[in-house]
């Protein structure tokens, strides 16, 4: 909301703008009451486009309620046959001794630990770059900016070799440690901290005798809220959705995250002509696996939208 407010504030001072006798109120009202100039053609066009983004997910939802034969015999975008969502879920969670639950928990563990760690590391570094001037800060920061461009997948191969020498492949650490680095997160936190943490507050805390670490922990982190949520969510998505790294690092299917597990189920489904029952399991599994992130984004939208705003604007 802050950008709306600054925009309204700027309008008041604008020279040559429509001078309204009502000052700020009227200028703000124009921004907040655009209904009068709604354009139905734009509305129709926009919502037609929304269909493109939402229909595949709708298909996924509909298909996860069908059994395998209904999948082949009924129209894909509408319910048909018997409602077998419950049976599909039962199959999904009991297949191969309930391994799907295991995959889900692995994903939650990897993504959760990585995201918390990456956020804290990025917050500390970004805060330091924004609020301290120290020798070498400019050079170090440009190294981080350059690193945003390093194709991470190109690094996966040497990382795998290094990890296998250290005996870390096929352990959760092989997924978590590489996911802790988020150069873009540091950049975002720096831009965010520069605005969100006033120097005067840090000064005041210093005068009160607080140490630097305590200031960061108690003053800084509290003010960085939306920025933290943004970096957390995007690190969470990055690890949650990662397929390449776990694919090369992990051998035992007990350690698989959901992405690698689903891919394995899928290749079993399309390879084995006789085991076609797996299709509905793969589809139901796909549907279940996207629910947590969709819900997280829905509930936290206020935070990530304002956090991203900072990053995109100053980029």
């Amino acid at each position: 909301m802050t950008d709306l407010e600054t925009r309204a504030a700027v309008t008041v001072g604008a020279k040559g703008g429509r001078r309204s006798p009502f000052g700020r109120g009227a200028a703000t009202a124009r921004r907040f009451a655009p209904e009068r100039r709604r354009n139905w053609m734009l509305t129709v066009l926009l919502w037609l486009c929304v269909l493109y983004f939402i229909l595949p997910l709708w298909w996924l939802l509909v298909s996860s309620t069908k059994d395998n034969s209904a999948l082949f015999s009924t129209f894909g975008l509408w319910f048909g046959g018997e409602l077998s969502l419950w049976e599909n879920l039962q199959t999904l969670f009991t297949i191969r001794g309930g391994i799907f639950t295991r995959w889900l928990l692995n994903t939650v563990l990897y993504a959760g630990v990585s995201a918390v760690g990456a956020t804290l590391l990025a917050a500390a570094a970004g805060y330091a770059f924004a609020k301290y001037r120290f020798p070498g800060s400019a050079a170090l920061f440009s190294i981080i900016l350059g690193a945003i461009m390093i194709p991470l997948t190109a690094l996966a191969l040497p990382t795998y070799l290094l990890f296998s020498r250290a005996g870390l492949t096929d352990t959760p650490w092989a997924i978590i440690i590489p996911s802790l680095v988020s150069p873009f997160g540091v950049y975002l936190m720096r831009v965010y901290a520069a605005d969100a943490v006033p120097d005067s507050m840090i000064e005041a805390a210093r005068v009160d005798g607080a140490g630097e670490f305590r200031i960061f922990w108690q003053v800084g982190l509290r003010l960085l809220g939306p920025g933290l949520v943004t970096v957390f969510l995007f690190s969470l998505v990055a690890t949650w959705n990662n397929y390449f790294l776990p694919l090369i690092m992990l051998n035992s299917s007990d350690l698989y995250p959901i992405t690698v597990g689903l891919a394995q189920l899928q290749s079993a489904a399309s390879a084995g002509g006789g085991s076609q029952a797996l299709f509905s399991t793969v589809i139901t599994g796909s549907f279940v696996s996207i629910l947590p992130l969709v819900i997280a984004f829905l509930f936290l939208q206020r935070y990530w939208q304002s956090g991203l705003a900072t990053g995109g604007v100053k980029g």
């Binding site: 604008a14 894909g76 570094a125 330091a128 190109a154 040497p158 000064e203 796909s286």
Partner: protein, 319 residues
């Protein structure tokens, strides 16, 4: 990047002893700053710099059946630059970049402008729904589109058949690149839209109120006021798209199971490097491919940035 508001404690003071105390204070602050960045940098060096160096080192060796690893100089790079499979995969990604990225970013920009104009009903809901695919893992997105494309129970084929168009073959060798472009577009339009939308919200409204008074319509305002104002955000989305395109892996590797004829093992450079390393056991050559791929990404990003800077300079001097 020069606007870093640092805590400058070195206010000019007359007394000499006080000055020394201030610089001791500054030392303390420096120490704190280094402590704050150390945890990040330890992992940064271990997980980015060291593997990068190691890949470079590996790429200079060759492993032979007899004699083990021997130094090969740039032989792997020479081989890669003459490898038709590698060159074809780079060409394929260049085509992908030239066709898919403008479509994706054009759509993202259109949605961002439409939402920002406030003229469409329910734009808040539309924004969220367009963004939703970003939360879907690429693995799930590819599996799902694979089924949607499928000739048996894919709804697209069902509709096409019922209208009498026959069954479209999205997974044939000729069409698979286009099908993949569609999957990537579906996944990332929303993400780019949010970045651009956020940038649009931050434009001071005096900029387009002036244009409105001059009688400029919505399209004119968008074209000559709003788009120039969010240039740096557009550049950011272009750079991210370059990086994303050239390292495509998930989509080809999953489509390979349903369309093995269309996806060769060198369909994208990254998929090729993976197959070389883990199927063919040619680690050194794979490292060279990965390194070259990074180089291609760096060069393309650099050229795009340079171009943009030159254009901005020209416009400023022309104005």
């Amino acid at each position: 990047m020069s606007h870093a508001p640092a805590l400058d404690d070195e206010r000019p003071t007359a007394a000499a002893p006080q000055k020394r105390r201030v610089s001791a204070n500054q030392r303390k602050l420096n120490r704190a700053a280094y402590l704050f960045i150390t945890p990040f940098f330890v992992i940064f060096v271990a997980m980015l710099i060291v593997p990068l160096g190691y890949a470079g080192y590996l790429s200079l060796f060759e492993s032979r059946l007899i004699g083990g690893e021997t130094f090969a100089g740039f032989a792997n790079y020479v081989r890669a630059l003459q490898d038709p499979d590698f060159l074809a995969s780079i060409g394929r990604m260049a085509l992908f970049f030239v066709v898919q990225v403008p479509i994706m970013l054009g759509l993202a920009l259109f949605f961002a402008l439409a939402l920002d104009s406030g003229r469409a009903r329910g734009s808040k809901g539309a924004r969220l729904l367009i963004f939703m695919p970003y939360a879907v893992p690429a693995v799930v997105a590819t599996l799902m589109w694979g089924y949607l494309y499928g000739p048996d129970f894919g709804p697209i084929a069902q509709i096409a058949r019922s209208v009498g168009f026959g069954t479209p073959d999205f997974l044939s060798p000729e069409n698979i690149l286009g099908s993949m472009m569609n999957i990537v577009t579906w996944e990332f339009v929303g993400y780019n839209m949010i970045i651009l939308y956020a940038a649009l919200r931050a434009i001071p409204s005096e900029l387009y109120e002036a244009a409105e008074i001059d009688g400029a319509g919505q399209f004119r305002t968008a074209w000559s006021v709003k788009i120039p104002a969010i240039r740096s955000a557009i550049l950011l989305t272009v750079i991210f798209s370059i990086i994303g395109t050239f390292q495509l892996f998930n989509e080809p590797s999953l489509l390979n199971t349903i369309a093995p004829d269309a996806i060769t093992n060198s369909f994208t450079p990254n998929y090729y490097a993976y197959n070389l390393a883990f199927i063919n056991q040619e680690l050194n050559y794979a490292a060279a491919i990965a390194f070259l791929l990074g180089l291609v990404i760096a060069i393309v990003s650099y050229v795009v940035q340079l171009n943009e800077q030159r254009r901005a300079r020209k416009e400023r001097s022309g104005a």
